[in-house]
Amino acid sequence: MSRSRRIRAEATAAWHSFLRRKTAVFFTFFFPVLLVVIFGVLVRTQPTDGGLFAEPAGYYLPGYLATVVLFTPLSRVGSEIARHRDDNRFEKLATTPLTRGEWLLAHTAVNVLIIGLASLLILGLVLLLTTASVPPVVGLLLLLPFIVLAVVLFCGFGALLGRLADSQDGVIAASNTIALPLLFLSDTFITLDQLPAWFGPLVDLSPLTYFARGVRAITYTPGEPYATELGVLAALAVAFFVAGAYAIPRTD
């Protein structure tokens, strides 16, 4: 009971803090809009031309979703940790009953909510602005565990970045440097046959690959199995969450 009370208190404070940063709210949701408009509407897919964006529009839905699932938790959790450290908030929290795991769980819950809303926005825009089709609502519900697990995973990753970087600027620079190659080299926007053969095993090392392949199995190639992707993603989510919680500063 008191554990849920603590997590609710932390999550409520984090949610209100986010909502009251209008610039953060605007760009959190404007970013996916921009992405779909640029790649889905302006560039458009050219299935017969080869090269980038040569697959049908529906193929790239996992990539659009991966963008918010990857960038938002990495930068938000990392920056939040840097901000907490700068303001001595962890020193205060270390003397309360709130544990590091509870803190990360609360902030992960807020990110799940934010990214869930952004994902809905992306789905709506892709349906509205491109030729892609998505499965019915029941099928879309299968996306939920993938989105939740990926957010958990990258919140843990963000906590690690926040611990390692010594400032908010450092967190943003580090998260961009890590997220950009992950985004394009995780079977999202670039197909495996566009990459050198030797690079294939490296793609399998990216956690985002399992998110993209699982989401694609649900939205683009229904009937294709995705249990392995879900299992790997769940295992990685647990591992990164535990590592991230452990990395949250408690002492100087």
């Binding site: 984090a14 209100h16 270390a94 003397t95």
Partner: protein
Amino acid sequence: MHEALVATDVTKRYGETVALDGVDLSVADGEVFGLIGPNGAGKTTLVRALTGTTAVDGEVRVQDRHPTDVDADRVGLLPQSFSPPTRLTARELIDYYGGLYETARDTDEILSTVGLAETADSWYETLSGGQQRRVCVGIALVNDPDVLFLDEPTTGIDPAGRRSLWSVLETLADGGTTILLTSHSMAEVQRLSDRVGLLRDGQLVAVGTPDELIADHGGGSRLVIDTDASEAAADALADAGFAATAEPTAVVVDNVSPVDIGDAVDALSAADLPYESLTWSEPTLEDVYLQLTGESFEGAGSRSATATPAVDSTAETDTAATQEGRQ
């Protein structure tokens, strides 16, 4: 009496820098202990050692346990330079931190206690510096702690707000809360603390009640006479049996009791020497601080003027008598 806080041979090093050097300290249940010392003396590091937020060599016990094993519901902390989420209101912040504990005091009661009932629904970032610090004090009180650590709680608070918070802390102390307080306001520490410890270069160089420290290290009472004829005035006072020292625009007479002030005035009158004012003061904790830290600057002979650059001189406990002189 049972000891709520115990530090035994506590040492903390940051590379080559020794922040704490074998500190021994004990604070009894219900005691208010004031920690003073120059910037960098180790006050905040000692607070962090006692709250378990920094690892140290030596032994630290809080309510008979290691600081990280203490029931967190019973401990309160206001860290130095602490800032909570800035876009929450004062009320939301009290609710938020209260939600982290098993039970919490009523939010409106806390807001009223720290004098923020009128601005409870303003965002933290829109409050003045003093109001923000009062929110932080409210946050530290939210779980009604048995042991309270306050690292410079009144920094940035105006005199009226400061006195209001002193009353809050006095009420807590009367209720049996153990308080460890750091401050650069000697008046604050002298008023609130049962005992005071002075840290210098990571070592606890003096511990005692304010009266004990003043008696041991504060020197005697002092009469400062502002006059342009300071040399002649010093000679006249010396002839009358006073230990007088001439300074450029004043004469300083040490160890003068209030009943002797009249004799000093008579001596100046007899020599027909003009003066602008007389200021008599007793030694305070500020004098102890300056004596033990070796901090001072060249200036006028008054105690407060001497102390100005080193400490907050809100010395309402100074006993001062000023008399306008003849011209």
